[in-house]
């Protein structure tokens, strides 16, 4: 059992570290980095702390609101849908970094392998759609959507894509026969 837990942590930590290394190599300033379970306090504090840091940096109000909203969606996604390892830990990570022209947010959590294709197709469809196509997808879900038992509404990815105004990059790293580490890496222009 220890070996399995270590492997879950190892794969997720490896992806988290690889992303941070890329940020560092490209001279990003890392504003926030978290690896491990995401508490309700983290959920509430991370967007607020990021908002304060962005105000200090002189970012536009509209950019601050877009990033705050992306964080709300991403962090709730982790807490509501992130799978737990065999020891009951909801392994996840969050990195927030900035450089002169944009911000980067990476969010990682465990997913069940049976959903990897569904999630990949969903994000690919969003990425392939233009602005009008994304809006149509958004309105379709809004019109027909229901709040699930977990509290999700099916608008998370599309909302993040629309707010970021960029494609949603993602990685799926297989951990074992049941779990994978799913990572979203989102770019948000500061202008």
């Amino acid at each position: 059992m220890d070996k399995e837990i270590n492997n879950v942590t190892k794969v997720c930590y490896s992806r988290c570290s690889a992303i941070k290394d890329i940020y560092k190599k490209n001279d990003y300033a890392i504003l926030f980095s978290h690896f491990g379970e995401l508490s309700i306090d983290n959920m509430n504090n991370i967007p607020t702390k990021t908002e304060k840091a962005m105000l200090v940096s002189g970012d536009k109000k509209s950019t601050i609101k877009r990033i705050f909203n992306i964080l709300i969606e991403g962090l709730q996604n982790i807490r509501l849908h992130g799978e737990k390892d065999s020891d009951g830990n909801q392994v996840s990570f969050v990195n927030i970094a900035k450089e002169e022209s944009h911000y980067k947010i990476s969010l990682g959590n465990l997913i069940n392998n049976e959903y990897t294709n569904t999630i990949s197709k969903r994000i690919d469809t969003i990425n392939l759609a233009d602005k009008d196509g994304q809006k149509k997808m958004y309105v379709d879900v809004l019109t027909n959507g229901e709040i699930s038992k977990k509290g999700g509404a099916g608008l998370g990815f599309i909302t993040m894509a629309m707010k970021s105004k960029n494609r949603l990059n993602f990685y799926i790293d297989k951990v074992d026969n049941s779990l994978s580490c799913f990572t979203l890496d989102i770019l948000i222009d500061r202008k």
Binding site: P47, N69, V139, I147, L155
Partner: protein, 127 residues
């Protein structure tokens, strides 16, 4: 059964909610991104159901700053519930947004297209 006002104070990620039976007005103002939005809206739906038995008219006045996608859907469901409980001609929906906040404005416009009643989209000064 006595008809009472409802008042839910704002939280870190929940809006202030005031339901006033004298003015027939439900006001929802603030941030809305709780994890369990259904739980948050449950007493508001109950208040609306009870109020609809004693009052013909209702005005729902919304103003959000930060709102999650699940709260967007839950708010739409709440407004649809209002349409199910009250006659169309007796409903007023106000949707307020801060100057320059196009994203919040667009949510109100989307609601207006989906709901039977039009939303009054109202621009307000920055807080």
């Amino acid at each position: 059964m006595k008809l009472e006002n409802i008042h839910i104070e704002s939280g870190k990620n929940t809006p202030e909610v005031i339901g006033d039976v004298k003015s027939n007005k439900l006001t929802i103002h603030g941030n809305s991104y709780p994890e369990d939005i259904k739980l948050f809206y449950k007493p508001i739906v109950s208040w609306l159901e009870k109020t609809s038995k004693y009052r013909d008219k209702i005005c729902v006045d919304c103003q959000f700053y930060y709102i999650s996608s699940s709260s967007v859907i839950a708010t739409l469901k709440l407004l649809q519930k209002v349409e199910a409980l009250f006659e169309k001609v007796n409903i007023v929906f106000n949707w307020r947004y801060e100057i320059g906040d196009e994203d919040i404005k667009k949510i109100g416009q989307d609601f207006s297209n989906i709901l039977e009643n039009n939303m009054n989209i109202i621009e307000v000064a920055e807080s």
